[in-house]
């Protein structure tokens, strides 16, 4: 497979493959219906909409969409709609999940439900964002910017594996992964530095496979070869990273929001770690972002 360097390229790859089946939880609103129909009409997915049948049909009408293109499962109430959507996935009737008008809290509760959710024992739910930033020469796969506030070494290992898996699915067989800190020095009192050094060594021991992992690295060294040269960081990851692992949610969150709001970046984001990938777009996301997120989930499914 060719390595994907622009988010648009996901569409071409998906069109070549049999369609994955999307299940949308509480898809009552226009935004959700429109995003799903866009993805469906582009040949990226087939779709089941779980939600209030009347509301769905009304939204379809407003968006000038023929509701018969969807499989509609009637659930009047939001929490139950999320549960039903998850049940459909567990019954093998869907490959990826998408959030509709239901709140993130309820949506996540349905995914994380111990008995009927999407988690295998011991699995860690995390969040992967793939960013296309005009001033960077390729995609950047980053995490966790949304779910795990302050990951420990075990959670970081889980996040790292998801970042690497995402890179693989996007056609990058041996991604360069940077573990971010505020400096390249290993400062024993700074947990981000310590964990980064340990993860880097674990990867060189083959305990984390399928990637070159380097850290601690500061952001300038991660994305700018010149900085790496000046600071004498001799690593093939420096200045050419495919993935960035953030030490906490604040740094990752600020990074992606800065890039989307001020640097003209586009993004696609999904929740991973469960049995299937899940789209968790917020109402503030653009239609484009929603489409990219559905495409990414389909790539990962």
């Amino acid at each position: 497979m060719v390595m994907i360097t622009k988010l648009d390229q996901m569409f071409d790859v998906l069109r070549e493959k049999p369609s994955k089946h999307l299940v949308a939880a509480y898809a009552n609103d226009r935004h959700t219906v429109a995003a799903v129909e866009m993805a469906r009409s582009m040949g990226l997915v087939e779709a089941t909409l779980v939600g209030d049948r009347d509301a769905i049909q009304k939204s379809c009408k407003e968006e000038k969409i023929d509701p018969s293109v969807f499989n509609i499962v009637h659930e009047k109430e939001d929490m139950q709609a999320a549960r039903t959507a998850v049940d459909l996935i567990n019954e093998g009737r869907g490959d990826l999940l998408m959030k509709g008008l239901v709140s993130s809290d309820k949506y996540m509760r349905a995914i994380l439900d111990k008995e009927n959710g999407l988690m295998d024992p011991g699995a860690i739910l995390t969040h992967v964002t793939v960013m296309e930033i005009p001033s960077y020469h390729k995609l950047l796969i980053v995490g966790d910017v949304a779910i795990i506030p302050l990951p420990g070494l075990k959670e970081k290992t889980a996040i790292l594996k998801e970042l690497i898996k995402t890179a693989h699915r996007l056609g990058n067989e041996n991604p360069k992964v940077a573990v971010l800190a505020a400096t390249e020095q290993v400062l024993p009192k700074i947990p981000a530095c310590v964990d980064a050094a340990i993860l880097s060594k674990m990867a060189s021991r083959g305990q984390i496979k399928g990637a070159i992992v380097e850290g601690p690295l500061a952001l300038d060294v991660i994305v700018d070869k010149e900085s790496a040269r000046i600071k004498k960081v001799n690593s093939e990851v420096a200045g050419d990273a495919d993935c960035i692992l953030f030490p906490n949610i604040e740094s990752g969150n600020a990074f992606y929001k800065f890039n989307t709001k001020l640097a003209g970046g586009e993004l696609s984001a999904i929740v991973v770690g469960g049995r299937v990938p899940a789209v968790l777009s917020s109402r503030g996301d653009s239609a484009r972002t929603k489409l990219y997120s559905i495409a990414l989930a389909a790539m990962m499914a």
């Binding site: 390249e184 290993v186 024993p188 050094a197 880097s200 021991r205 601690p216 960081v233």
Partner: protein, 297 residues
């Protein structure tokens, strides 16, 4: 080592505290005779003379200063080293506790403030193709990361004195795997990265590694572990005193090893030898102290 010292015309003065000690007499006599050491004995003069005659048949190969009180002898010897009248401080027939406490004395001792005291041994083995530097056999029970960093500096520095410009360092563990729950394995990972980042002296470093992966290229090949040390370690840095102590004593007992060891961190070399070491090892300790006392080698 002796040849090297003589070739470089190195001759150092060793001040022995409480020198009425048959344990060290033979080794010092040999060093003086070889020509790379001068001995200054501080202690009970009459007893020292008597012992020297008994052990070496002569009492004219050392400078003698009568300081009958133990503690005084230790401080007098240390002061000579501090003042530059002697180059090496050596423990004689005095308790290690009292002796080291004096060395650690904040005002009159030989350890600068905030300096880690440790111990490095150079071991010669019939079945290993080169010297093996091991640390810490004697001083730090459970070294933390900062202390391990100091141990690494000392061992690399000593290896360089032996002409090993780029020593291969193995950070010893029970396995090469890094596990969050085994903090010695994560410390090893951190030390490797600190070397890579230039925070510690340049060397070829890897760890955790078990002894097989550190010292046996065949094991490296069989296990298929990619390690730059490649089974050819010059330096073994152990995670605990017990492990290191048991390892070196095992080598002495079963591996036909001889050693030269030295306290590290002090401003001038300090020799503390165990009575149970062989005469050859004692002589090597003295030679090592003279080598390390030389500023420019």
């Amino acid at each position: 080592m002796a040849d090297h010292l003589l070739k470089k015309k190195i001759r150092k003065t060793i001040a022995v505290a409480v020198a009425e000690d048959p344990n060290t007499m033979g080794a010092l006599f040999r060093a003086v005779q070889a020509g790379f050491a001068r001995a200054v004995f501080l202690g009970k003069a009459a007893r020292i003379r008597e012992l020297a005659l008994e052990e070496t048949g002569r009492d004219d190969w050392f400078i003698l200063e009568d300081v009958p009180a133990e503690k005084e002898a230790v401080y007098r010897a240390m002061n000579m080293v501090r003042e530059g009248e002697a180059d090496v401080l050596m423990k004689g027939l005095v308790g290690t506790d009292l002796f080291l406490r004096a060395v650690l004395d904040k005002e009159k001792g030989l350890l600068p403030p905030d300096t880690v005291m440790s111990y490095v041994c150079a071991i010669q083995l019939p079945r290993y193709p080169k010297l093996l530097f091991v640390t810490d056999t004697a001083v730090l029970p459970y070294p933390d990361l900062k202390q391990k960093a100091a141990m690494l500096r000392y061992a690399v520095n000593m290896a360089r004195r032996f002409g090993i410009g780029q020593p291969r360092v193995a950070l010893i563990g029970a396995s090469e795997k890094i596990s969050e729950n085994i903090h010695t394995s994560t410390d090893a990972a951190l030390l490797c990265k600190m070397v890579e980042r230039g925070q510690l002296p340049e060397c070829v470093i890897d760890g955790p590694l078990d002894i097989f992966l550190a010292c046996d290229p065949e094991s490296v090949r069989i296990k298929g572990v990619h390690t730059p040390v490649n089974g050819e370690a010059d330096i073994l840095l152990f995670p605990t005193l017990e492990a290191c102590n048991a390892f070196y004593k095992g080598l002495m007992l079963f591996g036909g090893g001889e050693l030269a060891g030295l306290i590290q961190g002090t401003t001038k070399p300090v020799v503390v030898m165990s009575r149970s070491e062989s005469p050859a090892s004692k002589y090597y300790c003295v030679a090592l102290s003279c080598l390390m006392a030389e500023e420019n080698t």
